[in-house]
Point group: D2
Chain length 179, copies 4
């Protein structure tokens, strides 16, 4: 959910139009947590992007972005995964549209567990097994695969972009891990 994604990479709305719409309605997002699974479907690792922010900062992120007008949620999830992991990732987008959670991002901190200074965004979050070759695309500097246990490392969590750490922990708890 970087500024870049919402600005130059988004072809359907100009920056001005998006800013105007953002002030009027909650913006619908999707978050995807890419995972590797073993033969029995148990998650063995989670994919985290390393991305450069606007002001020289570098942060670990999940995959996230807007749902476009006229686009199905599952197509938005697929588009954002391919945008960040490349065309050979072979993601399996969940069969059901029900997300494992809904994350409500508010410009004011403390309303919910999630905060986004730029906007009121509501994100549907999905866990997405990928079985192919993943390579970071566009402005992603790196893609790291970490084990569920490693995600509770305070150093890793400190590197997560705002809101992404909470959502990562939620995903792992939902998967049955105690992190």
């Amino acid at each position: 959910m970087s500024e870049l994604e919402l600005g130059s990479r988004s072809s359907w709305l100009s920056r001005e139009d998006l800013d105007a719409a953002r002030d009027r309605m909650p913006v619908l997002y999707v978050h995807a947590i890419p995972v590797r699974v073993d033969h029995a479907g148990a998650v063995t690792s989670v994919g985290l992007l390393l991305r450069a922010g606007d002001h020289g900062t570098i942060a670990r992120e999940l995959i996230a972005g807007r749902v476009f007008h006229g686009e199905r949620i599952r197509d938005a999830v697929l588009r954002h995964i391919e945008k960040d992991l490349g065309p050979m990732a072979l993601p399996l987008v969940p069969v059901s549209p029900t997300p494992f959670t809904v994350a409500e991002f508010f410009p004011t901190p403390g309303v919910t567990a999630y905060h986004d200074p730029r906007q009121h965004a509501v994100s549907l979050a999905y866990i997405v097994p990928v079985s192919g070759d993943c390579s970071p695309q566009a402005d992603a500097l790196d893609l790291a695969w970490v084990t569920p246990e490693e995600t509770s490392d305070p150093a890793l969590l400190a590197d997560m972009a705002p809101g992404h750490g909470a959502l990562l922990r939620h995903a792992l708890v939902h998967l049955g891990f105690d992190v």
Copy 2:
């Protein structure tokens, strides 16, 4: 999800602004299915509104409406229930933000099971037990409580507004009924 709700009853956006935003982004909605439960939490009846539409039509509807900018989902659910059932309904809005389903309404029929000729709307759907006195408000003509078994009556389903019948059936199946 009547025109009225999106027009005159919505104070945060002018009709022109809303029409403009609708053409640019999916509009975030909530649907609420009000239910009566017994002492063990089993649903005994479902509340359906009878509402007059724009062109002299009358249809049975669930409770539905937009999420406003800056509004939590649970506050939107509460607002729409109070708007339709009155201030004494004593709803118990679900403790978790995860909906039982996400209904994607497209202007073009056939993209998903849901269709809305006016807009691309994405609705988070919740089942809401109410324990107080419910009285239809505003433009709702009547409120009928029907048993889960009665909801499979073809005559009742034929009276449901577009999309509302499918969502009602989904809710009942989610509750464990075979309708």
Copy 3:
């Protein structure tokens, strides 16, 4: 959930032991609905087994069976899929242990939507994408892939084993289909 599965095919309990245990505690089951998906994760078809019952009857069934003592739920799901679809089915067992529904089967009809004259069984139900070659094994006579739309055919539903039709419909509704 045929007698055979609970009898001769189950090596961990003798028929007598199982009958004794069945009279004392609810028996934990899993149901799996095998599906084929397209590139965006949307379900294109559902796999139904044709199985011969004890008394010369033939019925369409989902995949189902007991969870063994000491066995993880995901290993039970995998075991029953391989038992019915063969070792090359390449199932993707869901990443989360949360089922899409819990089906409670009672010996007395009418307690819930599910009925099993032999026992009180509680089944956790999962939708499982399979990407490999499926061939019916053991006592399954055939495996048919039907589209979501075809599952609402009354003739097909009439062929479903008791309880399996309701669970199939629940799965499709959960997937976002209006059947």
Copy 4:
């Protein structure tokens, strides 16, 4: 899930019968997390029992216990809540049978996040709003209401019975808190 619950308080199976059954099949449990909610359904506090164990230990626990043969899951949840919180708690058992998670307890540590040295138990976990007067019953020494924020206190988590801390954290994350 104390020994007492499984022994003297359980009238349907003798201790010997239960021990025999436990060696043969996974035992079906329910866990209930009692909560207080505000007018919009947001959780304001969580109820934790203080219970004396077999060996002079004292631990904080959630509500838990077996599902009896012939008993619906929602009736088991209700029975265990009334057993621990008294007959005036006015619980609202969830309308849907789908749990927020399934906790698999194994005698061997490390198979899953949950461990029970006595048995292989599979527990369906539910969050249950209570609106009445709660008073600890039977062998519960105390009932404490803690805020969601307080549940992340390491001292409190250290007092939780094995497995109960992980399940409490899972419940809070499911509710949208970042603990």
